[in-house]
């Protein structure tokens, strides 16, 4: 394998887990920034996990039927009413952004500055596209369908609260990610990391961005498809 993380004399498998965790020493043999980002993402996992669990609780406990997401999020294009089409497009946009981000990390480690920055800008552009479509979706739901956090004409009153809370918090993460990516990409382009030759920061920013995509996978499945 091209990517060995163990030196030959070290224990492997479960023994490496025990060896790394035992005794009074460094547990995570990765750069500090990366470990910290992972710990942050872990805490974020719990936040979104709690949101989705709360949504499950509300939905299960509601005696009033839950609005059918397939119909709520349908768009009329031409004469055809296509269910969930905007959400599908948003999903593809976010996956594409994850793809360009992965390529950016790859270029960063090959120290290809211009390409890295270009791919990161492309990722940020996909992110902006995603948030814009979400803004469109929110406008449609608030203005045309009369969905409010405290009630809606379609069914269970808790639908609005769950929807705005979960997608809103996710949208906030995407927006913050766009700013984060733009900041790092600008620095890369200016050659800020040229001297040290350490482009770890791109991978760390990438971790955050992939996480945002990851959360959307769960929101898409549980909120829109269920």
């Amino acid at each position: 394998m091209a990517h060995l993380t163990h030196s030959p004399s070290e224990p492997t498998g479960l023994r490496s887990l025990v060896a790394d965790w035992s005794a009074d020493r460094e547990a995570f043999k990765v750069p500090c920034g990366k470990a910290m980002m992972w710990i942050f993402l872990l805490s974020d996992t719990f936040i979104f996990g709690c949101f989705l669990t709360g949504y499950m609780t509300e939905r299960m406990a509601s005696p009033v039927p839950w609005p059918n997401a397939s119909e709520v999020f349908a768009l009329t294009i031409g004469n055809a009413k296509i269910p969930l089409i905007l959400i599908a497009i948003m999903t593809f946009v976010l996956i594409s952004s994850s793809g360009t981000m992965a390529m950016a990390v790859n270029c960063a480690y090959r120290k290809d500055r211009a390409k890295t920055a270009a791919l990161m800008f492309a990722t940020a552009a996909f992110g902006v596209m995603f948030v814009s479509m979400q803004a469109f979706e929110w406008t449609k739901l608030i203005v045309h369908e009369g969905i409010r956090p405290w009630g809606n004409p379609l069914g269970a009153a808790q639908f609005g609260a769950c929807f705005f809370m979960i997608t809103g918090f996710h949208g906030l993460h995407v927006s913050a990610g766009v700013i984060y990516l733009l900041t790092v990409a600008t620095k890369v382009l200016k050659g800020r990391y040229e001297e040290s030759g350490n482009y770890q920061i791109v991978e760390i920013a990438g971790l955050y961005w992939h996480f945002v995509d990851l959360v959307w996978v769960f929101i898409f499945a549980f909120f829109y498809l269920w």
Partner: protein, 116 residues
């Protein structure tokens, strides 16, 4: 240590995973488009979701190549959420049954989900 080189994988791998994620997303969209219902729908949704999540975490986030100590520290704690889900499912069931007893509008009895 791998500080200098970082995570270095062939570009082709990322492109393959990217394509695979597109295909899986299309599948999960089609589950809705073709109106699958009941257990089949839930099974398909969860399967595609877990496959997508697994691909993103293991390849895009490079967890497949990280040290086991970090992998376990990241993947084990979220399992606690499953306990929360189980507890809240029980709680929600109870809430639903009491709501059906006390708050449901007077209608023919045994109506499970009355329209407002």
């Amino acid at each position: 240590m791998q500080h200098e080189s970082g995570q270095q994988h062939p570009v082709g791998l990322y492109l393959k995973i990217w394509a695979l994620l597109f295909v899986l997303s299309t599948f999960s969209y089609l589950v809705d488009y073709f109106h699958f219902h009941g257990y089949l729908r839930w099974f398909l949704i969860v399967t595609f979701m877990l496959l997508k999540a697994g691909l993103i975490v293991s390849v895009f986030m490079h967890l497949a190549w990280e040290r086991l100590a970090l992998v376990y520290a990241i993947l084990l704690p979220p399992l606690a959420l499953l306990v929360l889900v189980a507890l809240m499912a029980g709680e929600a069931d109870y809430t639903a049954s009491t709501r059906n007893v006390y708050f449901a509008p007077a209608q023919p009895a045994a109506e499970k989900a009355p329209q407002r």
